[in-house]
């Protein structure tokens, strides 16, 4: 997996964002056991990987990530970036004790925030759209954040004693 040929503004900006996300994820007061935190981050990376791979490679090829068409080290980092970002979203979700219809408000609002953050990423050339539109991203975020909430509720419901392991 190659390093980027030119370490320019998009890599610098992403590195800063990535460090901030990791810092936040570590420094926030503990709300989940480490086993759940690991699952949430991995699920975020997994869903980001699936969607980006489906949308950004052949045959759809609707946007590029970073400068090269190749799969670079920073492409790998961006998936972990998604993981930490979605983890922080779920942290906020849990902190606000969202129930019932508030779930819909949370998903709609956080998808809007995610879309705005994506626009900032686009302005730094982390993503280069090739026919892709930001409102497609909004729809994708609705799906991803909703699935993230469902996943979180599922794993919390399975939290149980493990004497027999």
């Amino acid at each position: 997996m190659p390093f980027p040929q030119l370490f320019d503004k998009n890599e610098i900006f992403f590195s800063l964002v990535f460090m901030v996300l990791i810092f936040l994820a570590i420094r926030l007061p503990k709300r989940f056991p480490l086993s759940i935190s690991i699952l949430l981050i991995t699920y975020g990376a997994f869903i980001g990987n699936i969607l980006d791979t489906l949308l950004a490679t052949q045959p759809l090829d609707t946007f590029d990530v970073f400068d090269s068409k190749h799969y670079e080290l920073f492409d790998l980092f961006i998936f972990f970036g998604y993981g930490f970002y979605y983890y922080i979203l779920i942290y906020i979700y849990d902190r606000l004790s969202i129930r019932g219809f508030q779930n819909v408000h949370f998903v709609i609002f956080s998808s809007a925030v995610s879309s705005i953050l994506e626009l900032i990423m686009v302005s730094f050339n982390i993503f280069t759209y090739k026919g892709w539109k930001i409102y497609y991203s909004y729809t994708a975020y609705l799906f991803v954040i909703w699935s993230m909430v469902l996943f979180y509720r599922f794993i919390v419901s399975k939290f149980q004693p493990t004497k027999n392991l």
Partner: protein, 155 residues
């Protein structure tokens, strides 16, 4: 035809696993599924984007099979491998199981090549076997490390 066979096999593997009396904690199964799918998908992307040794099918049915293999079937085989590993007591059986799983994964890949789901410009069976072996043992390592967190986090 191949699409329907793959969907049926995947469905069968998933449903059987759900109803099986499990040795793995649900968190471990989920983590193995997510992480192995992520690792295998990254490897495949490296193959077709960087080295260009693999060609992604254009046909939509083949593409569905391609992504089902990467994101569902391979992770499910790895979960089954770990589950069976805990069922067997003897070390010999565990080693045998590891090699059987490598053969199953190689066989699955071979069938995919025959049906044009995977098209390799360069294919090295020894390297692929080694990759599957490393993936199986890597998933075992991840599961062993994660089990400590599960025990610590829950009790």
């Amino acid at each position: 035809l191949f699409l329907s066979i793959i969907i049926n096999i995947t469905f069968l593997i998933v449903i059987t696993y759900i109803y099986l009396k499990k040795r793995l904690h649900i968190y471990e199964s989920v983590l193995i599924f997510l992480s192995s799918s992520f690792i295998h998908s990254s490897k495949v992307q490296t193959q077709y984007l960087n080295k260009e040794t693999l060609i992604v099918p254009r046909d939509i049915a083949l593409l569905v099979i391609f992504w089902s293999l990467i994101n569902i079937l391979v992770p499910m085989i790895l979960i089954w491998y770990l589950e069976l590993l805990y069922w067997f007591r003897s070390t010999k059986l565990k080693i045998l199981l590891t090699f059987v799983c490598v053969i199953v994964l190689l066989g699955m890949e071979e069938i995919a090549v025959r049906f044009n789901v995977l098209k390799y410009s360069v294919r090295n069976v020894n390297a692929t076997s080694l990759y599957w072996l490393v993936l199986l043992l890597g998933s075992l390592l991840i599961q062993r490390l994660y089990r400590k967190f599960v025990l610590k986090g829950v009790n």
